[in-house]
Every structure is written in C-alpha cells, then in structure tokens.
Amino acid sequence: MQNRSVKPIVILFVCLVVLSFMPFIIDPGSYKYLYNIFFIVNVTVLLATSWNILGGFAGQISFGHAGFVGIGAYTVALLHYHLQWSPWLALPLAGVVTLLAAVIIGSIAFKLRGPYFALSTLALAEVTKLIAEGWRSFTQGTQGVVVSPGPLLSIPSGGALYFVVSLWLAGFGILCALLIKLSKTSYFFLAVGENEDAALSLGINSKKYKLIALYISSFLAGITGGVLSVHTGFIDPSSGFDMVHTVEPIFLTMVGGIGTVLGPVIGTVLLVPVGEVFRSHFPTAHLLLYGIVLVVFARFIPKGIMGLFRKKKI
C-alpha cells in the first residue's frame, strides 16, 4: 500500500480516537437524547456504508438490507434468549450468520443480472421476516424477544458504551469501504457496476466481485442489526425486518453521494439528526420529506453532496 492510501486511514483512525473522548466532554447521563441520536447516526453510517459497498461500488441495488439487519438482530437476540450469551459477544456472530444467508442468496441471485438481484434480495427480506413470524417456538413469533445487554468487560451499558461501540463499528465499516476504494479491487468493482459486458470482455470475473461486495455488505448489515437489538433491548419481526432498514441507507447514500466512501457518512450525519427532530415535531411529514428529497437528488443531483464538492471521489 502506498503513501496515498495510508493517509485517509490515519485520518479515520484519529477521528475515531478523538470522538471516543466525547463522553468525557459531554456527559451522557444528562444528554441521553443526544447520545441516542449519536448512536442512531453511528449505526446508520454503518448501514449506509454497507449498502453503498454493494449498491454504489458494485452497482448491485439491494432491496434486502432489512433482511440482513433482521437476521443480524435475531442472531444476537436468540443467542441471548436460548443460550444466555452476552449480546455483546454475540455481535460478531450476527455478521457471520448474515454472511451465510448472503452466500445462499448470492448463489441464487447472481445467476441473473440487473433487477433480478434487487428483487431476489427483496424476497429474502420477506422470507426471513415470515420465518421469524411463523417459527414461534424458536423466535417467539410476533411477540418478539427481549434482550438485556448487561455490561461489556465490566463497563455498564449506557449512553457512553453504546456511543463508543457504535462509533468504532461505524469506523470499521468506513475502513472496509476505504480499503476497497484504495485497492485495485475498486477498479474491478467500478467496471462491473458500470458495464458488466465490457468488464466480462476484459476478462474480469464479474460474479466474483459482485459476491465479494455482497459478502462484505451483508456482514456489516448483520452487525448493524446485532447492535440495534442490543441497544433497543427488544426485537420483533416488524422492527427487525422493517423496510426502513432498506430505504434509509439508499436515501442517505443517494443524498451524500453514491459510490463514494464519504457520501453515506455525510448523508447520515447531515440528515439523520434533522430527521429525528423533524419526526418528533411533524409526525406525518417526514415521509413526505424523504420522498421529495429522494426524487430531487436522484433526478437533479445524482452524485449527491459529494458530487457538489469535489472531483476526486473518496
């Protein structure tokens, strides 16, 4: 790896370390709501980055991220419920189990191109939701599962812990995206995403790169689900497999700048806090706002905020 590639990683690392000190400056005890928003921002950065690796880098639109998130969330919840695992320890497994699901869906969906993949992932999300609803003896069905997180390495769970954990998970997601973007792989991704026929004719194994993107993306989305169920302390099919988990990352990535590393981060950091505040003041209007912003960006500003700022895309 050359010098040019090390710099962004160092910056990312420094940012994470600096931000980790936030709980010492702003007391999580008195600003619970603020920390709740921080947490949501971090987790959404992770999810949007995950979607972007698949949808932005490899050009494979996923409508199934709700499914990945749900699988991750249930992995944590069920390991806790049936085997009394600490939800924190189960977190990495949330990624692994989701990745296994992605292996199955990838083997089916990538036999075909284009919208078939989008539709297959949509089906995956629905099927997994139906399983979570129907398999009552295992998943508690529609009643849901309560998760009580407990301490992590004797740090009590609370605003500060959730903040730091989610921050570093988001950092991990961004790191994955950076590593892809800075390596030679990113050119293959780009080629596959832009024009698969041309990529194939150049001898690029397009399926291989699509699968890599899918695996990384699903792993990160699974982790997102896991950490969400730890934080909420409760998971049921309607919240675990909520379409929001599919729609929001698409929305935020589009606004921030699809196919760039910073795009999903900027989209999330800008819009999620506004959205949270907006939602509590105008309960019915936030969907309308979402819709308008989506249309306006996709139609008139397709490169998103990142496209307005700079030519060199990271």
Partner: protein, 288 residues
C-alpha cells in the same frame, strides 16, 4: 371443498394478475422497476372510492373515467423525472426516483383522505351465486371477470394495434424500432402512462372487495413482484399464468398446511423460479 378452493384460487389469481400487469409492462419495455406501483393501485382505489361516495358511480365504470388522468400522471412522471436521466444510469436511478414518489403519494393521500379505512360497499355486496357447489360473492365475481376481460383486452391491444406493436418492437430492440420509424421516446412515455393506468384500474376493480387506506399499496407490491418474476418479466400471458398459479398455490397451501404457510408459498415459488427457470414459466422475454 377442493373444487371451491381451486375456483376461489383462480378468481383471486385473476386479480393478482391484473395487479402485476402494469408492473410487467413497464419493466418489459424500459427495464425499469416501478416502485410506486403499489401507490398507483392505492390512488386508483381512492379515485374509485371518491367517485362512488360523491356521485354514486360504480367502480367498475369509474375506472374507465379516471384512466386518462392516471395516464397523464404516469406520462408526466416519466417525461420529466425519468426520461432525462442518461440511459446508462436509468435502471438504478429510476428505482430510487420511483421509491421517492411512492412516499410522496402515500403521505399525500394521508393528508387528503386521513388515515381512516374506507370501503366501497356496492348495493349487491351481499349477493352470492352458486357455481359448481361454490358460493361466489357478486363483487368478487365481477372484479375477477373484469380483471380477465382487461387482461385479454390488453393482450389484444398489444398484439393487434399499431401502438401495441410499436411498444413490443421497442421492448425487443430499441435501435431497430427507432430505425423502423417508431418514436421510441414517445412510446416509452406512453408505456409508462399505460403501466400506471393499469395499476390504478387494478385498484379501482379491487376497491369493492378490499379496504382502502393510504399505506395499502405495500400489501400488493410483493405479490405483484412475485407474479412478474413467476411469469417472466414483460410478459402479459406470463402475468396471467403466474397470477393464477400463485392464487391456486396459496389457496391449496393454506388449506392443507397451516393458513400462515400461505405467504411463504409465494416466496418458495419466487425463489424456485429464480433458481430453476429465471426467465419465468413461459420462457423468453420476447413472449407477449
């Protein structure tokens, strides 16, 4: 009991098929997945509701009266929001634009008509006829028959009229169609309009046997997608066959297994088709 179950499965399958046709046509010609398809169905239901509620016009008639409005709506959306996008990016960007439009429609409907559930109760809503020992309610019967008629009508339109042939030519090969004197751009705009009209008409026809509320659209979308994949993307006959297969399969699954197995059935079909016959039951996309 088994005949009743199959007959009912076919009837609901016809409605499923109509729900899917608007989606499959737009996809077939333009390779665009219309994510606001469900909301177009919802708007069609509200249009039928308003005309019935205010003027007493039966939904089976009003679907034809409102069709031009939905055609214009669909055409405008395509002309100004989707068509200007460079062809290379259209497939992906249109997904996101139409998704955004679905939110706008659903929330607008909520502001206009509130979140209350509405129904269209026809004067003969409780009347029943008996056919091979199967009791069928008149609204269900008429809705299914109208679906069948419209599907056949649309098939004839696509196979017999100049417009229909031009649409199919565009579907097969844009460049050649263009060389042959087909105005591909206008055909695309019109096709999108037709797709939206079909969705709205499906909504109107469904309104007497279902309920209406602003977020009802999401109930239909997954079914419609399943049928489109089942029947082969872009195929009208495929949608018809796919709809009926889904209707009957669901009916059988919910009778002989548990009722809750019904929805899983749709996805088993969906994934099975993707796995073993991805071009759909009837095969290639050149099929009408």
């Amino acid at each position: 009991m088994i005949t009743s179950i199959i007959i009912n499965g076919i009837l609901i399958g016809l409605i499923y098929a109509l729900l899917a046709i608007g989606l499959t046509v737009i996809f077939g010609v333009m390779r665009i997945i219309n994510m606001f398809h469900g909301e177009a169905v919802m708007l069609g239901m509200y249009a039928a509701f308003v005309l019935f509620d205010k003027f007493g016009i039966s939904p089976y008639i009003s679907v034809f009266l409102t069709a031009p409005i939905f055609f214009v709506l669909g055409s405008i959306i395509y002309k100004f929001l989707i068509d200007p996008i460079p062809a290379r990016e259209r497939e992906i960007t249109s997904l996101i634009i139409t998704l955004g439009i679905s939110f706008i429609f659903a929330t607008s409907a909520m502001y206009i008509w509130s979140a209350d559930y509405r129904t269209v109760t026809l004067p003969f809503s409780q009347d029943v006829m008996v056919f091979i020992k199967t009791r069928i309610g008149y609204p269900a019967l008429i809705s299914s028959c109208m679906s069948a008629v419209m599907i056949v009508g649309f098939y004839l339109f696509m196979s017999k009229t100049y417009m229909g042939r031009a649409i199919r030519a565009t579907e097969l090969d844009k460049d050649t169609a263009s060389v042959m004197g087909v105005n591909v751009k206008w055909i695309s705009i019109a096709t999108f309009g037709i797709g939206v009209v079909l969705a709205a008409m499906a909504g109107g026809i469904l309104s007497p046997i279902f309920y209406i509320y602003p977020f009802v659209g999401s109930n239909f979308v997954i079914k419609a997608f399943t049928i489109v994949v089942l029947g082969g993307m872009g195929s009208v006959t495929g949608a018809l066959v796919g709809g009926i297969i889904l209707g009957v399969a669901e009916a059988l699954a919910s009778t002989f297994l548990e009722y809750s197995m019904k929805d899983i059935m749709a996805f088993i079909l969906f994934l099975g088709i993707l796995l073993f016959k991805p071009s759909g039951i009837l095969g290639g996309r050149t099929r009408l």
